[in-house]
């Protein structure tokens, strides 16, 4: 279950920025230099992680050439933060 919008990651090269917010269905916006060649891989990972949290989620990813492990970690963290009920806004100390 997602309660709020949350993000993880940066726009540094070899990283990615992931923003997750509650939604009716699963929506993915994936952009970046590798958007065509890694579209299917990224969809698969997002679906896999989203299943553990919520039936619907809006996921925006700006990929700056992140490795798959990095991408996975950022998506998971964003979902984890978005699913925290106790806090109104995402307080995580990610660098702006």
């Amino acid at each position: 279950m997602l309660f709020k919008k949350a993000q993880a990651g940066t726009l540094e090269s070899s990283d990615c920025m992931v923003v997750v917010s509650p939604a009716e269905t699963c929506i993915l916006e994936y952009s970046g230099q590798n958007e065509t060649i890694f579209k299917r891989r990224t969809e698969r990972i997002v679906r896999e992680i989203a299943e553990r949290y919520a039936p619907g989620a809006s996921v925006q990813i700006q990929d700056r050439g992140a490795l798959e492990v990095t991408l996975r970690a950022r998506i998971e963290t964003a979902f984890e933060r978005a699913s925290k009920e106790d806090l109104k806004e995402d307080p995580a100390g990610e660098p702006k």
Binding site: N34, T36, F38, D63, E68
Partner: protein, 527 residues
């Protein structure tokens, strides 16, 4: 239906579909193997020699009027024009001349530069306007690459190596009608050199070929010096029809970029170390050895390792070859090599070295790499370290297409030196920007895998299975040898497996010619 669509194709020895004929160009044979041409019989003399001229003594060659110079050259629609790319990203001659030709209403020209610099996006506009209908080059980058990959030219672009271009000129595949040759220093009779003047660029090795073979040669200069030009003449007056004086042939700050520095990137340094270790293990670094290395990424760092090793073992090499960087000139001046053979200078520190160092020798592109002359230096080379965009499980190299399938590189001397050198090492990171470098099959074969001896990354060294001797050397030296398939799997565990870009396989937008004139691969329109 325009040319390039649904061409009849045949599979070459690398299982790549290539056309048997390109309307408007010529019939083609498929690539067979690197030295299959040795079986051929060629008795015809080279074509495209310079024409004889009847001129009165002391006739005037100088003009400052581009359009008059073009009129005098006899240029007509449909003809072929050429340029050299020695001014790199600082070049102002290609845009200046194309602009003038557009204003004069020319159409349907074939553009045959030795290569196109990164900065010449305006060439794409000339393709769209119909001024340029055919392109023969070593590469296509930026907007030009995108326009070609989108199918904006009807006739496939022909991409050749530096050696292959000279062969094509001498066999008559490229017939240059007018060559516009940027001349950093030139006298009123057309004696010119690249090693002096405010737009100095060093060697004029590619231009020398065009000067010898073009029907009409125009020197384009912003630096008219007293007659006779001295102390160096790279292209002599008897090859030059006209001297066109312009305000500027380019931006000196972009022509002579600062000396390339050795990378500090730890990944590059690891790659360089691995590449050097393999070179040392090969046993080729002995007295009289010869060596070629590029200027980017890990390349200079390899040269630095080689230099230290030569110092320690008191080894003196015979020659360094190629695109010449300041680092190679330092090695010459410090006595590590007897001579440097320079077809193209890479940075500022090289430019005046030819005047300073008698053993820094300007060679033309035919001498550098032409497979069909009486012997090119690339065939005398011991060791070459090359780069790559992608490599595949058969060691085929792509230096031309990006991950999105769009043209973005240049072939340069890659296939020439790989074929000629005793040891051809391709050095590249195992992944870049999150995308693995090893593919099951590269998008575009530019250098056939059978000429590549090893692929070196920061994660280990892959040796071409056909080089069992090299594999044994590497194992004996306890180098981190990995099977290329195993390395691919290792890297894909980190990056994931990318999808191949989608192409319209009925629409060929460019062809990669091997150095012997056979077809290596087809480049398709990107969907």
């Amino acid at each position: 239906m325009s040319a390039g669509q649904n061409l009849r194709t045949i599979e070459n020895a690398l299982s790549r579909a290539v056309p048997v004929e390109v309307p408007g160009l010529r019939k083609y044979g498929p690539y067979v193997s690197p030295f299959a041409y040795l079986e051929r019989q060629i008795s015809a003399p080279a074509k495209g020699g310079f024409p004889l001229r009847l001129r009165e003594p002391r006739h005037d060659k100088v003009t400052d009027d581009i359009k008059k110079a073009v009129e005098r050259s006899g240029l007509e629609n449909g003809m072929t024009i050429s340029f050299h790319h020695h001014l790199r990203n600082g070049d102002a001659v290609i845009p200046k001349i194309l602009q003038a030709l557009a204003e004069m209403g020319f159409r349907d020209l074939a553009l045959a530069p030795s290569s196109l610099p990164d900065s010449h996006d305006m060439v794409a506009d000339c393709m769209r306007s119909g001024l340029v209908s055919r392109l023969f080059s070593s590469g296509a980058r930026g907007e030009v690459g995108r326009a070609i990959s989108a199918g904006e030219l009807d006739v496939p672009v022909i991409l050749r190596s530096h050696g292959g271009r000279v062969r094509a000129i001498e066999q008559g595949d490229i017939q240059i009608d007018v060559a516009f040759l940027a001349a950093p220093a030139c006298d009123r009779y057309g004696n010119m050199t690249g090693s002096a003047g405010r737009s100095a660029c060093g060697s004029l090795g590619y231009a020398q070929v065009d000067a010898r073979h073009a029907r009409h040669v125009i020197a384009v200069t912003d630096n008219l010096e007293d007659y006779p030009l001295h102390p160096r003449i790279s292209i002599p007056q008897y090859l030059v029809d006209q001297v066109l004086v312009v305000d500027s042939i380019g931006d000196p700050s972009k022509i002579a970029t600062g000396a390339a520095r050795i990378s500090r990137n730890p990944v590059d340094l690891r790659i360089a170390r691995n590449a050097f270790d393999l070179i040392a293990a090969s046993g080729l670094l002995t007295n009289g050895c010869s060596f070629q290395v590029g200027a980017g990424g890990a390349s200079l760092a390899v040269a630095a390792c080689v230099k230290d090793y030569m110092a320690e073992k008191k080894i003196r090499g015979s020659f360094g070859l190629g695109g010449m960087s300041g680092y190679m000139i330092e090695m010459l001046e410090q006595g590590y090599f007897e001579a440097m053979l320079d077809v193209q200078s890479f940075d500022r520190s090289v430019t005046d070295s030819m005047t300073r160092n008698a053993s820094h020798i300007e060679i033309d592109a035919s001498c550098y790499a032409n497979p069909f002359n009486r012997g090119c230096v690339a065939h005398n080379l011991d060791i070459v370290v090359l780069a790559a965009l992608d490599i595949d499980l058969d060691f085929n190299i792509d230096v031309q297409t990006g991950h999105d399938g769009v043209l973005r590189g240049a072939i340069g001397g890659h296939p020439d030196t790989a074929a000629g050198a005793k040891l051809a090492v391709v050095a590249a990171p195992s992944f870049r920007g999150g995308v693995p470098t090893i593919k099951e099959s590269v998008t575009t074969v530019c250098t056939p895998g059978e000429t590549v001896d090893a692929f070196v990354t920061e994660r280990g060294i892959c040796i071409n299975p056909k080089r069992e001797d090299l594999l044994e050397c590497a194992r004996n030296a306890r180098l981190p040898v990995k099977d290329i398939r195993a390395l691919r799997t290792e890297v894909e565990k980190l990056t994931g497996v990318p999808d191949a870009p989608e192409f319209d396989r009925n629409r060929i937008v460019a062809l990669v010619e091997y150095r012997d004139g056979t077809l290596l691969d087809s480049v398709y329109r990107v969907k």
